[in-house]
Symmetry: C2
């Protein structure tokens, strides 16, 4: 039996071991899904804290039910470790590490590089490897493959298989989660594609195979670039609409009545999260290597980067209408999460607006029912304050930055002196309400 | 009974007369819909040819069934005229005139202006006026109203009512036509909105009312700007993908498997038709008055304008692979319509690519089953040639510019020496096929 037949047989008999590298909001749900399907899963992470939590059955991801995590840990279908030498016990290794941007908005490939080095040094022959992190097209073939071959001394196709299959997790989405979101996969060889499909089918209902890893890499970037440019467009139109005395939210609601050829996007104080603000710039980066300027992404990125500054100006304008300056005013931000009803403040525009406002002398505080403590990009730290009558009445300006369902809009409106509504949370016009 | 009560009573008793100004692809279907609903309709157009055709029951619009037009003309529910003094017989006047761009890509408001002058000089008191043409926000209030009041000597609110309700006609759409496509409407006064709704309800199933004409104006521009920027994005990504050896069509098919947050757009040789290439620049134009640069539209417009040039380069590259120059080569274009299965070549990118290629010495000819004769932007005129074996074999290069369903792709592939496929019509890879 050759390597390929061996791994396919293990998969067919549920005797394979899958290693998930990186136990964040992508890796942990995937690990749990495989474990639930009866597969033996080892979770790898450099954070001892995360590993200990998982092994104690303590969940730290919003999209996973606590009971399910406890169950798969109790059954020993899932265990976590910081010991990367245990990769040699795995038949498949799925990489779910971060791909952030550095301070100059260039791809930070260090997590993928580190995972590839760990895998190359520790894996056994006959391992299937898949990358799930969003990255620029050609990463799997031109960046990962040489590192893994160099570190392992093994040869792709004979000793291991490499594939790319992007995660499509949408945190907080009630309808679509890991299992029922179709998964795109491209592999370096037909064998790899076959093995990958057999494997992923246990945790994911539908696998959509494409002809190469670079096609799959482009798919994920296209999906998020689509969102970036449409949000940027509507943000730009929102700013113009403000000047033209047009309610952009009313415009969008009316445009949505078109039964074909339109998808609604909503303006906001900027784009947050770990995908949309970052992914398109991975593509912009690699495009340079092909002497190509991606002008749509560039323009969208520019609008998006400027939004927090425009939002600061909205706040200053609102205060000015009451003859107040930002400098010395008490400004309460409601919501620091980057989208409603989740506990994630990564890349949240609220943090940047808070920094700008604090920098100009505003006295800043915030409430977020999901996030008790934050640290801004510039290192300012705040604890969430009580959201009560006194807090609202004491603020010179209340800024609605995240539309959490928990916020009692009528209560907020009643007790605030001045409101800057960046999320269309307040319907009625009022002199004390300024809208994006 | 005041003016408002009078017109509402006429509408309620089906005794009103509606004048439709401009009998093109928007005005004529609307006129037919009203006439079908039993309303007495007068169609106004400056073209004696169109007017004569209609009065003879001869249809010239693809989306209207010939029998329906004949029926409403026979019943004398619809008659057409070039005599604009007959506007005085109308209780309502609906303007469906073109809003093109001039040679410097600035709004050409002359058709709206002319319609407003005709209306102002001819209408009776108590007329409801609605504009359907796409235009920049504030047109109804700031451009039309002063002209109509000046020419008529009447006063809005007392003597007439003015509204804006954009057409959403999608030529060739089999599912959505004038009646079942919801209609957005904003009016200058509450009375106007009430009258407009009562009137339009006879021809349109759903009326979505908004707070002002400028909101309705922005709605239409948003819908088409959304399409412009998404097509421009995918065109830009298609050009990059070509360089990166990525099949963009495969990428789009895979991205479409994402069950939320994605809408597919397809690349092509440029954007044609009478809406998407034009409408966003109406907004760009008015934005300048508010000291505002619409960078997304600007960038998208730039990509779109350059597409025919890139397509010319594709043709030159394909010919070069067979050691041929464009200069002196026979180049056959298949399809000059701007989209499949319609007979409309307005703003079609095919015409521009033909001009560029002819300019470089290519010997140009074309076939389009829907369009027997064309005149290019630079004034070259061509008749559609027979699409047979000899024609295909005689061409040095066959360029697929419109994906009409009538084209027999296998036949074309079999008999062509070289194909440049700009519409993803040919699946299989072959050395003689070059794809966008």
């Amino acid at each position: 039996m050759n390597q390929k037949e061996q791994i396919l047989k293990k998969i067919a008999t549920d005797s394979e071991v899958i290693g998930i590298v990186g136990l964040g909001y992508v890796g942990l749900p995937l690990a749990v899904n495989f474990a639930e399907a009866g597969v033996h899963v080892i979770g790898f992470d450099k954070s001892k804290e995360k590993v200990d939590k998982i092994n104690k059955g303590e969940n730290y991801i919003g999209d996973i039910r606590d009971a399910v995590l406890r169950e798969v840990v109790d059954k020993v279908n899932l265990r976590a470790t910081t010991d990367f030498t245990k990769m040699k016990e795995c038949d498949a290794l799925i990489i779910c590490v971060p791909t952030p941007l550095d301070k100059f908005r260039k791809p930070d490939m260090s997590y993928i590089e580190s995972a590839c080095i760990d895998i190359g040094r520790n894996m056994s022959k006959g391992t299937f490897i898949s990358l799930e992190s969003t990255t620029y097209p050609t990463t799997t073939e031109n960046f990962m493959l040489p590192i893994i071959e160099r570190e392992s001394g093994m040869k792709h196709g004979d000793d291991f298989w490499l594939a790319y299959s992007p995660e499509r997790v949408d945190p907080g989405n009630k309808n679509f989660h890991t299992r029922n979101t179709p998964k795109v996969m491209g592999a370096l060889s037909e064998d790899g594609l076959e093995i990958g499909e057999a494997l992923y089918k246990k945790a994911i209902d539908n696998i959509h195979k494409v002809s190469s890893p670079r096609v799959a890499e482009m798919v994920k970037i296209l999906e998020n670039t689509y969102r970036l440019i449409n949000i940027s467009l509507i943000n730009e139109l929102a700013l113009l609409s403000g000047k033209m005395d047009i309610n952009i939210w009313e415009v969008i609601e009316a445009a949505k009545t078109k039964p074909f050829g339109f998808q609604a996007f909503y303006p906001g104080p900027g784009i947050g999260g770990h995908c949309i603000p970052l992914d398109p710039f991975y593509l912009e980066h690699i495009a340079k290597q092909y002497d190509f300027d991606l002008s749509m992404i560039h323009t969208a990125g520019h609008i998006n980067m400027r939004m927090p500054h425009y939002m600061y100006i909205k706040i200053a304008t609102a205060l000015n209408s009451q003859k107040k300056a930002v400098n010395g005013s008490k400004i309460l931000f409601l919501g620091v999460a980057y989208k409603p009803n989740i506990d994630d403040e990564r890349e949240s525009p609220a943090l940047e607006i808070m920094d700008i406002t604090a920098h100009k002398g505003g006295e800043i505080y915030y409430n977020d029912p999901y996030i008790p403590h934050v640290k801004t990009n510039e290192g300012r730290e705040y604890d969430s304050v009580e959201l009560d009558k006194e807090t609202l009445e004491g603020a010179d300006c209340v800024v609605l930055t995240t539309n959490h369902k928990d916020f009692d809009v009528d209560f907020i409106k009643k007790h605030s002196k001045l409101i800057v509504d960046l999320r269309n949370m307040i319907d009625k016009k009022s002199e004390k309400v300024f809208k994006l």
